[in-house]
């Protein structure tokens, strides 16, 4: 959702008039149906609703309705088309509104004639191209012959329930009437659609009547009052409309993934976290935020990162293996996607001081980098033991102008560095933003980090389409510590049941050895760093120390989204030992000429352990490069 870049060129060619195969105008892939949310009225509510990313938002320029639009449209994503709805208005009025509000489409809800439509369509007075949607109200029957004369003068039809009012009557018509639809023009289905109609929509989608249905149009069933949309019900509807399964793998309104997540924070942190919760979606939806984010990802990070077909690895393991090259990003890992997003968020929230935690130093370096870029003060907490064993990254952070503060409490590693960062935030509640590096922490952090990392799977989709002619691989694979690279790799596939999700944890010296970080096997539900998730702990609820050769996977918990994926069985969790990972890492060096980070090597080690079919397309997130691990590789292989 956050990057446009290349995919637009690919997708825009085939927009109109090929219903069902019609991708939404932005190129997002849907289950055949686009979504229009109509009857928007209030500025804040428009921004909130826009954050749900519908394809169209409708504004009614007709005075005799409580949903009459008479305020301002806030800046919303350019991906969302703004539709002006008119009832027997004059051409001049329509033109004026189109130009004033930069409308992308006009919906005619009255008795406008084909001639009227053709004039509107050909007028040179509008400053931008518009789509024309002509509405027809359906009661007990409908004479589809009426459509013939409109065939060449509009882009879409919209079928609404005939009622007392022109729209917004709140009940449905008999959709089976559309079996007699005689045109091939794509149409919008409207009239009284709410959560209760989801089953009917599903049946409708499976029937011939929906052959040319392009979009669903919703309005009054999602309102707290006329014109005020309830975004939580809308989100539920969208998730269910998009998902083939009813299970929701995204975060819910209260910050939970199933039973995991939430915000278990001391009151001292409440104002900071609440400020972020209230603003993060709104800020992320702002066009200037998206533009700046996309620009930096492109010019500074070097995105899109290649999706590389690993030929020799594929031959060896008898599957089509693609590597998503996050290792080629600036600073050498996926971590920078999130820190770019969060530094822009921090700036918009007026924060002047940045804190972060780091284990191996990758997230610390990525945070130090963006702070240098933006000229903000940066303090990174790092366990005293990690400082000693990751000297090059400590030096990098210092060169970038960051203060590295040793965490001296507990085991003096990542968990304790996180505790210290949280304590810093408690002590500096006003001017400081905490950039969490993984998909963990109190809500909204797991969701926010996931959305910033979602660029990974967004790119995989169009890159795979280019190379394989399809967007969905058979499997996506990523290693998991807290789970940020995994969250980004899975995000756009969570609700695609034909895509298998494989999560690879660090087994350390072996799951039963007592020296492991395989949280899905060893963890129990509990609370760590502000969220409820799977967590390695004693019977008494004390958090235990994990172990892995890879500092990035050496975390006693896992992000709440992953805990949910694990518990529901949506993802298959595998555990890989130090030895298996090191061997797989060296194998990639020899077969493909790529030295991976040890974290990433865990994901690569599933080949040889899990059987794939010859034609299986398997995309592995190559989350980081191995430069930082040379010392480890040298020691291990006695190079």
């Amino acid at each position: 959702m956050l990057t446009q870049m290349k995919k637009e060129n690919i997708m825009n060619k085939e927009i109109k008039n090929t219903a069902q195969q019609v991708p939404s105008p932005t190129g997002r892939v849907r289950e055949g149906l686009a979504l229009k949310i109509c009857g928007m009225k209030y500025e804040d509510n428009i921004a909130q609703t826009a954050s749900l990313q519908p394809d169209y938002l409708g504004f009614i320029f007709y005075e005799d309705t409580p949903r009459h639009f008479d305020t301002k449209i806030p800046e919303i994503s350019e991906d969302i088309k703004k539709v002006g709805v008119f009832v027997n208005a004059e051409i001049g009025t329509i033109v004026e509104k189109v130009n004033e509000f930069k409308l992308d489409a006009v919906q005619l809800h009255g008795e406008e004639s084909p001639y009227f439509c053709s004039i509107l369509r050909s007028t040179s007075l509008v400053t931008r191209p518009i789509e024309l949607i002509k509405v027809f109200s359906v009661q007990e029957g409908f004479n589809f012959e009426v459509l013939e004369q409109y065939e060449n003068v509009c882009d879409y039809y919209l079928f609404d329930t005939k009622g007392k009012l022109p729209g917004g009557n709140g009940y449905t018509f008999d959709w089976s009437l559309l079996n007699d639809y005689s045109s091939t023009k794509p149409f919008f289905l409207s009239g009284g659609i709410g959560l209760d109609q989801l089953d009917d929509i599903k049946k409708f989608k499976d029937s011939d009547a929906s052959k040319y249905c392009y979009a669903i149009d919703v309005n009054s069933k999602f309102e707290s009052e006329p014109g005020l949309k309830n975004t939580s019900i809308l989100r539920e509807f969208i998730n269910k409309l998009k998902g083939k399964k009813t299970m929701n793998y995204n975060v819910d309104e209260k910050g939970y993934y199933g039973e995991f997540g939430g915000a278990f924070i001391p009151e001292m942190l409440y104002p900071n976290v609440e400020e972020l919760r209230q603003n993060y979606l709104k800020v992320m939806a702002e066009p200037d935020f998206q533009n700046e984010f996309n620009q930096l990802l492109k010019d500074y990070v070097g995105r899109p990162s290649p999706l590389y077909f690993a030929k020799r690895l594929s031959e060896k393991y008898n599957a089509k293996i693609y590597l998503k090259r996050e290792d080629l990003n600036h600073t050498g890992a996926h971590k920078i996607n999130n820190t770019i997003g969060q530094i822009l968020m921090a700036k918009r929230l007026g924060k002047t001081r940045i804190i972060a935690e780091t284990g191996a130093g990758q997230h610390g370096v990525a945070t130090a980098t963006v702070c240098a870029l933006m000229g903000l003060e940066c303090i990174v907490y790092m366990g005293e033991i990690d400082i000693a064993r990751q000297a090059p990254n400590v030096a990098r952070m210092k060169m970038l102008g960051t203060t590295v503060v040793p965490a001296l409490s507990g085991s003096r590693t990542l968990k304790d560095a996180t505790n210290e960062a949280i304590r810093d935030w408690i002590n500096n509640p006003v001017n400081t933003h905490y950039i969490i590096g993984s998909a963990i922490g109190p809500h909204p952090y797991p969701d926010m980090v996931t959305r910033f990392q979602a660029v990974v799977s967004e790119e995989i989709k169009w890159q795979l389409r280019e190379q394989e002619g399809r967007e969905n691989p058979d499997y996506v694979v990523a290693c998991i510590g807290g789970g940020s690279n995994a969250a980004g790799t899975y995000y756009h596939y969570l609700h695609e049941p034909d895509v298998g999700i494989i999560a690879v944890e660090a087994a350390g010296l072996g799951v039963d050895s007592g020296e492991s970080a395989a949280t899905s096997v060893l963890g129990k539900e509990g609370i760590i760093h502000g969220c409820k998730t799977l967590l390695m702990q004693t019977k008494d609820g004390q958090i235990t120390e994990p172990y892995s050769i890879s500092a990035g996977l050496d975390y006693p918990g896992v992000g709440p989204m992953h805990a949910h994926l694990c518990k529901t069985g949506r993802a298959e969790f595998m555990s890989i030992t130090d030895d298996e990972a090191m061997t797989a890492g060296l194998e990639l060096c020899k077969l493909e000429g790529i030295i991976p980070a040890i974290e990433t090597s865990h994901a690569l080690a599933i080949f040889g352990q899990k059987e794939f079919q010859q034609d299986d397309v398997v995309v592995v997130s190559l989350s980081g490069r191995g430069d930082k691990d040379l010392e480890n590789y040298i020691d291990y292989f006695k190079i």
Partner: protein
């Protein structure tokens, strides 16, 4: 009536002391409680140690780590507290983080507290809305008062909400900080204390964080019903041993 409510009705400023159970020595718990009461302390917070105490500064982190090393567990603390009501009458509150309680089971934990004569709980990382939706009924069933924190950053609206959910006192964190971080109060704190006092909340307020001596205790209780001392007390017994706690309490009250 719950012992906390009874105590709050007394016409005096209250001194509440926090200590970490199982520290300095594993078996100090009961004698510390008894000695604190003997020396005139009004209320006690028994700290159930946790491996990752997010809201605490170095002093209580270290005492917690040491207590865990000494072998303190939830079960052991409950065993130590068996029969405590035969010798102690002042209110006793268990203060700890949510995960150990969650693992023990919230209902069994509350039930055990009632059996032992515990009057309330302070759980900094259990948010007020989660408590309200999921656990309030259980706490009330076992006669336990849950105490919530407010800080100088807490909005008036939220303070009113917390006040409406609370049934004992409100724990006023003196400044934006972890425990034991500040010494002495400035104008900012005084203004905050006065602002809250003027709100006429239904629950009395007890101030904690940053109270370490007679001076800060007096300042805090000028605007509030009482004050809580944690880090300064833990520091004292670290240095002088639990036997010498009377000199600390005297220095506060005189």
């Amino acid at each position: 009536m719950n012992r906390i409510n009874q105590k709050l009705q007394e016409d005096k400023k209250l001194l509440s002391i926090y200590f970490t159970a199982g520290y300095p020595k594993i078996d100090d718990t009961v004698s510390i409680i008894q000695d604190l009461e003997k020396n005139g302390v009004d209320m006690i917070e028994i700290g159930l140690p946790f491996s990752d105490p997010l809201a605490d500064g170095p002093t209580i982190q270290d005492s917690s780590t040491a207590a865990l090393k000494n072998g303190m567990t939830t079960e052991l603390l409950f065993n130590q507290l068996k029969g405590i009501r035969e010798t102690v009458t002042i209110p006793l509150i268990i203060m700890g983080y949510f995960n150990p309680m969650f693992q023990y089971g919230v209902e069994p934990f509350c039930q055990k507290c009632q059996e032992l004569g515990i009057d309330g709980l302070i759980i900094p990382d259990l948010p007020v809305d989660v408590y309200h939706e999921q656990y309030q009924a259980i706490f009330e069933k076992y006669g336990l008062i849950n105490v919530f924190l407010i800080t100088p950053q807490t909005s008036e609206e939220r303070i009113r909400y917390i006040d409406s959910i609370s049934g004992g006192f409100i724990y006023m964190v003196s400044s934006a900080s972890t425990t034991g971080a500040k010494s002495g109060f400035g104008d900012e704190q005084t203004e905050y204390f006065e602002r809250i006092a003027k709100m006429n909340l239904k629950n009395p307020q007890v101030i904690g964080f940053g109270i370490s001596n007679n001076d800060t205790f007096t300042q805090a209780t000028k605007h509030a019903k009482g004050a809580i001392i944690g880090s300064a007390f833990v520091k004292h017994i670290t240095k002088n041993g639990a036997e010498s706690l009377n000199t600390f309490v005297k220095s506060i009250l005189n």
